[in-house]
Symmetry: C2
Subunit: 234 residues, 2 copies
Amino acid sequence: MCHPFQRVERTKPFSTIRDVYELLQLARPSQYTGWADTAARFQHKRVKAGHAIYRIEQAFEALYIVRFGFLKMILNSVDGDERVLSFAMEGDFFGLDGIYHDRYAVDSIALTDCELIVIPFKQLITLVHSNRELEKIIYLTISRELLRGLSQSLLNNIKAPTRVARFLETQASSYASRGYSSQNFLLPMSRRDIGSYLGLSLETVSRSLSAMASAGVISIDRRHIQILKPELLH
Amino acid sequence: MCHPFQRVERTKPFSTIRDVYELLQLARPSQYTGWADTAARFQHKRVKAGHAIYRIEQAFEALYIVRFGFLKMILNSVDGDERVLSFAMEGDFFGLDGIYHDRYAVDSIALTDCELIVIPFKQLITLVHSNRELEKIIYLTISRELLRGLSQSLLNNIKAPTRVARFLETQASSYASRGYSSQNFLLPMSRRDIGSYLGLSLETVSRSLSAMASAGVISIDRRHIQILKPELLH
DNA sequence: CGTCATGTTGAATATCATCAACCACGGTGG
DNA sequence: CCACCGTGGTTGATGATATTCAACATGACG
């Protein structure tokens, strides 16, 4: 199962810091000098759809950057149902949840086949000590996650159809910022996952999407979304 | 207006790093050596109830630690109503929202008279460079904020009375970890604020509290809460 | 071709928000 | 001192909205 709009990726077994910078989209690598001699190379890791990268309570070792593929971060409650906390796609950072307790705080599950860059935390900290720019980028990345959490909690007490529309907008802009089409994309997660993420039942998500489709704002073919009138989405 | 259970605080105009450590409750200062000669001293700042410490879009200069008093972080929407994103009390850190854009992302409002320790971010970073322990503490503090965001988003799609009960539990344990009574405390914020924070209307909050009171689990006198049966709260 | 997982749609129900009346308290000014 | 008013809080009635239960459709996969 492959994303139809997936860029063709070279699949080298390692990424350099330059690659990491580029993926994080925080800076053009050309802005920084002296990288060629950096010995740091980060292993790649492939994960099949449905498998976990890490599980809750597992010892915290590394952060991950998504090279391609899609993931979800979930928390399983005692009565078996899971809550989706966030999704991750190409260029996204995850694993920060592990820092505080030295154990991961969530499960990270691959929604599709994925390739990840593994960044051992200790190694990262060591690199930070010799590189002020990298330090800055770490702070920026972490605080971006903080803001993402804040903006998500704003979805509370907004009506369901609006919430779903916002979700589509967010997805669209994620694709746009990565060079893919923002009008025509795939939702790699199930309706149930979307509902869990938004705090809605899967039926409500389905209904909201159907309503938008019959209003001519979007067109749906299973998980394939086409946004016909972006201005009306808001 | 003063918290009846407020510890008597010396009100020196400055705090040292040792004080900061102690307040953050991340480590006993005795674990660390070589602090006496640290020149860093952080100014205190007093704010009256109802006033803002910083406003959204204001240039990011400093982080703050609450020495005493209570605050709320809010976001005003276009149509005038405000959303409460978090509360802060003694020992809490805030201002991290400003890192990413170099401008604060929320308004911080004093709920009661407050005293804050002002920690200029640049100065903090400089200190971090000469102190690995402090670096670790920064990462821990930031990632604790991340986890707090995660656990808050779990409140979504849980029923209103449960949500209010959870809120009380959280408040109780906050007081407990600071050495105050966890059975007998004051909610410094209005019902409206609680509702906004939990994504409920103020009436629903009031009803939930009343229900718990008439069930004999808690007793309410305006903003003064007494928890009679902690085990039933869950 | 059957089976399973996923998604859609309908009807009934529960939950929460809204509107509104009312109470308690604190402060103000006569 | 007391009448007045405003804010914050409680409680009730009503209606909107989302959940739940259920039936059915569709595509994927062996």
